[in-house]
C-alpha cells in the first residue's frame, strides 16, 4: 500500500502517508519476528511467575527505528510545507522545475 501511494498519488501529503505506512510495516515486521507463544513482556518488575518472555532485541531495534521514522516524517512534513509555500500547490505534476 505504501509503495502504491508513493508511486501513484499526486498529492504530496499522500506520498508522505505512503512513506509512513512503509515505515510502520517494516517496524511491524521486526516486532513480529520476536514473538513467542505465551510470552510475557521482558520486564522483571512485579512480573509474577514468568514462563517465557518474548525476545527483547526486536523491541529495542523497533524503538530505534520508530524514532528515526519520526524524525524523517517531521522533516518530510516541513519540506512539504516549504514546497507549498513556494509553489502554492501540493500537486507533484506542477512541481517540476528540475528536469533533465
Amino acid at each position: 500500500m505504501g509503495m502504491y501511494a508513493i508511486l501513484f498519488e499526486r498529492n504530496l501529503i499522500k506520498i508522505a502517508i505512503g512513506i509512513t505506512l512503509l515505515e510502520a510495516s517494516a517496524n511491524l515486521f521486526l516486532i513480529v519476528l520476536g514473538y513467542r507463544t505465551g510470552g510475557s513482556i521482558p520486564v522483571f518488575t512485579l512480573a509474577g511467575e514468568v514462563r517465557s518472555m518474548v525476545l527483547p532485541t526486536p523491541q529495542a531495534l523497533t524503538l530505534t527505528a520508530i524514532v528515526i521514522g519520526l524524525a524523517t516524517s517531521a522533516l518530510l512534513l516541513s519540506l512539504i510545507m516549504l514546497l507549498y509555500r513556494h509553489y502554492g500547490t501540493l500537486d507533484v505534476r506542477e512541481i517540476r522545475r528540475l528536469r533533465g
Partner: protein, 91 residues
C-alpha cells in the same frame, strides 16, 4: 485504470514472494533458536542490574545505536530549525 490493475498483480506477486521468504525464516510463535536474546534475558539483571530488559538493550548493550538515534532526532530538529529560520537570502 490499467496501471492500477498491473500494480495490483505486482503487489500480489511481491506478497507471494514475501510469504515464501517469511515462512522459511522460522515458524511463527514457536520457541525459535535465539541464543542472543536468551543471553540478554538471563544476564541483563545480573550484569547491569536492570529490571527492564528492553531498556538494558537499548541503553547498554546497544547503547551506541541509541546515541545514533538521538543524533538522528537532533539532526531532524536542526534541519527543521534551519528550514524555518528567520530572514531570507534571496534566490
Amino acid at each position: 485504470m490499467k496501471k492500477k490493475v498491473l500494480f495490483l498483480i505486482a503487489i500480489l506477486v511481491v506478497a507471494g514472494v514475501f510469504w515464501g521468504a517469511l515462512s522459511r525464516v522460522h515458524p511463527f510463535g514457536e520457541k525459535a533458536r535465539a541464543p542472543m536474546d536468551d543471553y540478554y534475558l538471563e544476564n541483563a539483571q545480573q550484569e547491569r542490574s536492570v529490571n527492564n530488559v528492553v531498556t538494558a538493550i537499548v541503553f547498554d548493550y546497544r547503547g551506541f545505536d541509541t546515541l545514533g538515534e538521538a543524533a538522528v532526532l537532533f539532526t531532524a530538529v536542526c534541519s527543521v530549525l534551519a528550514l524555518f529560520r528567520k530572514g531570507s537570502e534571496g534566490k
